[in-house]
Amino acid sequence: MSGLYQFLTGPALWATFVIFLGGLAVRIAFLYGLSKERDRVFYNHMDWNWAIKSIVHWLVPWGSVSMRRQLVFSLVFFLFHVGILAVPLFLAAHNLLWDEAFGVSLWSMPDAWADALTLMVLACALFLLVRRLVRPEVRILTTPWDYTVLVGTALPFLTGFCAYHHWGPYDLMLILHVLTSEILLICIPFTKLGHMVLFFFTRAFIGFEMGARRGARTW
């Protein structure tokens, strides 16, 4: 078991980071090249002001008309994203590993916060799952893959939480935690989770196409 753990936190982790960051970089570079070749004409209307406004209004909770129409969903949606980003980056245990390996680390949040945020992520994921099942306009769009991605996103948080609280066999939980997290990171560049970075590009585009050319707000 410890051999597997060594592998997962050693070579496999390196590979994960390379695929995750490299994959995203390649995807953006490819799309950028493609846009220069096939969507070149749209760059004539590029406008940073409208692009940034279009992004910011959708990052702020209830910053858009659309979000204000569905208050609960957009709050959940927002908290879900906050938790997903904050917990992995600012968890003390993660930072300890960074520090051990490279002597540098980010700011760490108190464990109690991380606990609360993790529960929040899980609760939000459950909400999103139920929403997919019960709202007809969402259910009709949902494919088995959408459920897979949602569960796959929640698993690292569930296993991490179990491991921290020593629920179930600790070693196994830890291994599952590392494994599910690595799978998730590897999937990001190749799936709809790529919206982690592509969001900024599509929002910028619609922001200036509707805003700079027409003065219409896309939020």
Partner: protein
């Protein structure tokens, strides 16, 4: 392989052959960064559903949500790499023409700003390549190709109509002319062919307004049709040619601006999509484009046209934002300020401005013909309810499609409203300066 065998069996019946090669070419040509990204990151969150009036008008039928529509048309075409059968294409046609007016409202409500209307338009192009397009649009396309305008009107008839209208109007405003092909004029006024064909008084009204405002204007003898139905039919090449005809005529005449009549999609075509369709690398029209809403507003603001206060509308009035003038044209404030000059009791719709709903007649729906009318009336429920809620008795609609759709909705839903264009109202209310007043002896006393 089973799929292709199946297709052959199917195609051996009476249905036409699907040209998969052609579909793949078009899929490939459109496979740019935008569409690729949109198709791959749609999170299937369903937020777009509530933005769509088709969805709202049909008791939230999930099959009418914008995401469902693009996923099951263009999304599916990419997924199957164009290997689809005739039935699939017919289903796509029902969606992209019968359930979407490309009003672009959903792209304001999508967290990723996915431009679904663009993907619907690409699907229309693909269907068109297979000979599938609503009959009304197909007829118009033939007319554009043969005569350069959607109704097949000849240049002679057009010029005769202009002359006739200029003569008729002398009784209202002395000295009205409709200058044809005047070089170096400030505005080249372009219209929807239904004006010279069926409502020539629209030309007369425009001429009166320009005369009273002392405008330097002209109408071109060719390229006078600013509409662009090939854009909605899916004939991208012809759509480009149609705008090019207008642009080139403007350049030839050396005018400063192309002025667009009270038509929504003509503005969208001339200013926004036209340069893309015609393949202008800078994405901009060669001559600046101005919409009537903008110019009429400037006339009233600057006092070039003065409104008789006694004639202002007393009854409640609302303003229909044509999608392609407001949301897709940016003129919602100008429209409202203009209405303030004409009406005493203005009541806005909710939602309004760039968030206003499509009337249900856009995107080619009106010219698609009577077989689409039941759908148009059913999905127009949202607009009818919006209007009813304002309590307005007059609806100002600066777009021919909105005008027709609202007139139909008025009957269907018994709204008891009068639908009017800006030209009509301005002509009813403007003060005719003495120098333009018809000579006393010529005006018959009643």
């Amino acid at each position: 392989m089973a799929a292709s065998a199946e297709r052959q069996v199917h195609d051996s019946a009476d249905t036409p052959q699907v040209d998969v090669k052609k579909i793949r070419e078009l899929l490939d040509a459109n496979d740019g960064a935008r569409i690729r990204t949109w198709l791959s990151i749609c999170a299937r969150c369903g937020l777009c559903a509530e933005s769509c009036f088709f969805y709202l008008a049909h008791d939230k039928d999930p099959k009418l949500s914008p995401a469902y529509k693009f996923k099951n048309t263009l999304g599916e075409l990419y997924k199957r790499k164009g290997r689809v059968d005739w039935d699939f294409l017919k289903r796509c046609a029902d969606i992209v023409w019968g359930e979407c007016t490309t009003c672009k409202r959903c792209s304001l409500y999508c967290p990723f700003g996915i431009d679904i209307a663009t993907m619907i338009a690409v699907t229309r192009t693909i269907l068109y390549s297979q000979g599938i397009t609503p009959e009304g649009l197909a007829r118009a396309v033939v007319n554009y190709r043969e005569t350069g305008n959607q109704m097949g009107m000849s240049s002679e008839d057009f010029i005769d109509t202009c002359e006739w209208m200029a003569e008729e109007t002398q009784d209202e405003v002395k000295g009205v002319t409709i200058p044809i092909d005047k070089k170096g004029a400030k505005y080249m006024y372009t219209v929807n062919p239904r004006e010279p064909m069926f409502y020539p008084q629209d030309l007369a009204q425009a001429a009166q307004i320009f005369t009273v405002a002392g405008e330097d204007w002209t109408m071109p003898s060719t390229g006078w049709d600013c509409t662009n139905l090939p854009m909605f039919a899916g004939d991208k090449a012809l759509a480009g040619q149609v705008v090019r005809n207008m642009y080139e005529k403007a350049v030839e005449l050396g005018v400063q601006y192309i002025l667009i009549t009270e038509c929504g999609h003509a503005f969208r075509s001339a200013l926004f999509e036209g340069p893309y369709l015609a393949g202008y690398p800078d994405g901009k029209p060669p001559v600046p484009i101005v919409h009537s809403v903008q110019l009429f507003y400037e006339y009233l603001r600057d006092g070039r046209i003065q409104i008789d206060p006694a004639k202002r509308l007393k009854e409640p009035v609302t303003y229909q934002d044509p999608c392609n003038v407001s949301r897709n044209g940016g003129l919602w404030e100008e429209g409202r300020k203009l209405v303030q000059f004409l009406a005493e009791d203005f009541r806005d719709m909710s939602p309004n401005r760039e968030y206003n709903h499509c009337c249900g007649g856009g995107g080619g729906f009106i010219p698609m013909g009577p077989e689409y009318k039941p759908k148009r009336m059913a999905s127009g429920r949202v607009k009818a309810e919006q209007i009813r809620a304002t309590g307005a008795k007059v609806v100002i609609a600066p777009c021919h499609n909105c005008f027709d759709q609202l007139s139909d909705l008025n009957k269907e839903y018994e709204l008891g409203i009068r639908v009017v264009s800006l030209k009509e109202l301005i002509c009813e209310m403007m003060i005719i300066p003495d120098k333009f007043k018809p000579d006393e002896e010529e005006a018959p006393e009643e």
